[in-house]
């Protein structure tokens, strides 16, 4: 069920889990957002929320804050391994492509009497195809690990959230976090210096 839920946002026909909290209008509660004035405040707030045991929450900032991974407890991404594997695969493909064409399928070009399967002239294209595949892997891998592209999200319904792309720093805690409690979470956000706390509804 939980696997299905992760992709339920993309496919409307997948039934969603019963919401833990609903607003008076009957919409599910996506979570709470709070605004922070400076990156130092947001950084320290992130440390406190991490220590309070929250898992499904995020800090939205117009620029990457240096060292925020530690403050939020984000694990190191596996992206480099994906890129390395795809890149090496691309390089191997480059070699096999050239070797098969030049030494196996079509031995029509005798160049200076050198062996058909000589690897030296293949190095350039092996390198280029390795880089090409690695580049695609890093962009597409980054997007897929991030769950992007995803053009619709409950957070976009908030005007305040949209200003996170300009100068505002926003912490969003999701309602389906096991530690989430409307009152206690709001108190925590207030205690850490969060201003303009707002409930985000998921109108679906």
């Amino acid at each position: 069920m939980s696997m299905l839920q992760t992709i339920a946002d993309y496919f409307p026909f997948i039934p969603k889990a019963r919401p833990k909290y609903v607003t008076e209008s009957g919409n599910r509660v996506h979570g709470l957002i709070a605004e922070y004035a400076t990156s130092a405040e947001a950084y320290h707030a992130a440390e406190q929320i991490r220590d309070a045991g929250y898992k499904k929450w995020d800090l939205h900032t117009p620029f990457p804050i240096h060292g925020i991974e530690e403050a939020m407890g984000i694990k190191k991404t596996i992206l480099p391994y994906i890129v390395m594997k795809v890149g090496l695969g691309g390089a191997a493909f480059g070699f096999l492509l050239q070797y098969w064409i030049t030494a196996i399928d079509f031995t029509g070009f005798t160049v200076q009497g050198k062996p058909y399967g000589a690897w030296e002239p293949f190095t350039m294209i092996v390198f280029e195809l390795g880089v090409l595949h690695a580049a695609f892997a890093s962009l597409i891998g980054m997007l897929m690990l991030n769950g992007l592209p995803r053009w619709n999200h409950p957070l976009f319904s908030s005007d305040r959230f949209l200003s996170a792309s300009q100068g505002t720093l926003i912490i969003a805690i999701e309602a389906n976090d096991p530690s989430f409690d409307p009152e206690a979470t709001k108190e925590l956000l207030e205690k850490t210096g969060g201003k303009e706390i707002e409930i985000i509804e998921d109108a679906d």
Binding site: S39, A40, D58, I74, I101, S165
Partner: protein
Amino acid sequence: MSAMHPDQVTAERLAGLRPGAAGRDVDMGLGDGTLTEDPALESPLVLGDRTFDEVTDIVCGYAENPAPRWWFIAFSIASTIAGIGTLFILYMIITGVGTWGLNNQVDWAWDITNFVFWIGIGHAGTLISAILCLLKQKWRTAVNRSAEAMTIFAVICAGIFPGIHVGRIWFAWFLFPIPNYNWIWPNFRSPLLWDVFAVSTYATVSVLFWFMGMIPDLATLRDRADLRLRKGISKPFSLELPTGHHLVIDAITPDKIRAKVYGFFSLGWRFSSRHWHRYEAAYLILAGISTPLVLSVHSIVSFDFATSILPGWHTTIFPPYFVAGAVFGGFAMVLLLLIPLRAVMPNFKDLLTQRHIENMAKIILLTGMMVGFAYGMEFFIAWYGGNEYEVFAFTNNRAKPTWLFDDGAPYWWAYWAMISCNVISPQVFWFRKLRQNPLAVWVVAFFVTIGMWFERFVIIVTGLHRSFLPGEWGMFFPTWTDIGIFVGSIGIFTTLFLLFIKFLPTFAIAELKAVMPAADPHGPGHSDPNAAHDHDAEGGH
């Protein structure tokens, strides 16, 4: 000026009519405040005591505000030239390569010169985004976006020339690893085929790099358009006509188009720190793999020449020499484009400071010296190697002026144009006053661009025009088609660049913010006692 800031004071600040917030600008006594010679002081990267919101307003303003009049004039001229150039290309394709001045002796001329010229220019963008990123040069954030854009447009122009140079372009698919109807595959031992893979990989990776860098900034543009739509302050489409009237079309709301188009390409970016973490990892990986890539591309381009047996081409110094020349010519083009923009675009000077220009001038001086060293080394090896054909190629085909020697080189003027533009003109940057003067830097960049075109012309045409038998000697004269296509490629490049500065984020907004002192969560001067100087230097945010 900006729809997001209706109040007069902010609007004037954003228009560059009013200085930064009172009393907080730090005057370091030199230039615009960024030219300090004290290595303990870190020059501010963004001037005018800007907040994050203001930086956003400035950069997004270029894409959101109505295009200024100079933009329309420049765009009309550039796109007309591009159109005429395209007609010349069409004429050449319909009629044949004979419309160029090529002959049996000089069978590569302006076409390949232009190809190498443009592909060389296309190196600065990736160099700035990749190598300077790995070297943690924060000042790159001011120029990387426009330099990457320039890279892609230059590679597009470069791609035209080998494409049409094959003559019968409907056989261009022979370049790809596909067997033809006689089951003949392309030859993987030919540097020309390596070149196909190198240039197309480079073009693709540059586009990916550019696009990935733009995702957050496109999301910023999307959110601003969306906010204006929600607040109901979006304006209908309006165009100022040359007569002074305004053409207003109520049915079109640009913000709706912006929200859709920027929204589509920003892929739903939410500025999440968890996303930023992977984004930064991906950026670093792309920088890491682009660094050897950018070095490989011009090396492979140089193999087109170096693996031949022609005197003047058959040299091992070519790969590093071509790479240094590409960086040299690429930075010159960046300066050539950005220095005029500093003058005409509001607040551009606060984001692209005099320090940035000085840094690029220093890179031009360095790479100019490297290129000069390579020119000298070619001569030395020609003499030291004891190959008389090689010596002849360098002295009698290139260097000796005909008015001084009876056996002089008919292309001596091209050679000396190259030397004076590439080796002599950057030497003015030894003087601090000149490398800190944007006009002087622009003039040198202009000369360097001309010199780098001549460098490729000298290599290609003087290498070919006199073969081993004097009976095969000939000259190359360009035709109108040669000239038209080259000038047309400049038009295509300029048109694309003008479209870029009007419709896309000209600066990497997110990266600019990340290097501003206020972005540091530990605050300037708090975590590191040695950074106390920075606190003063950066305006005490």
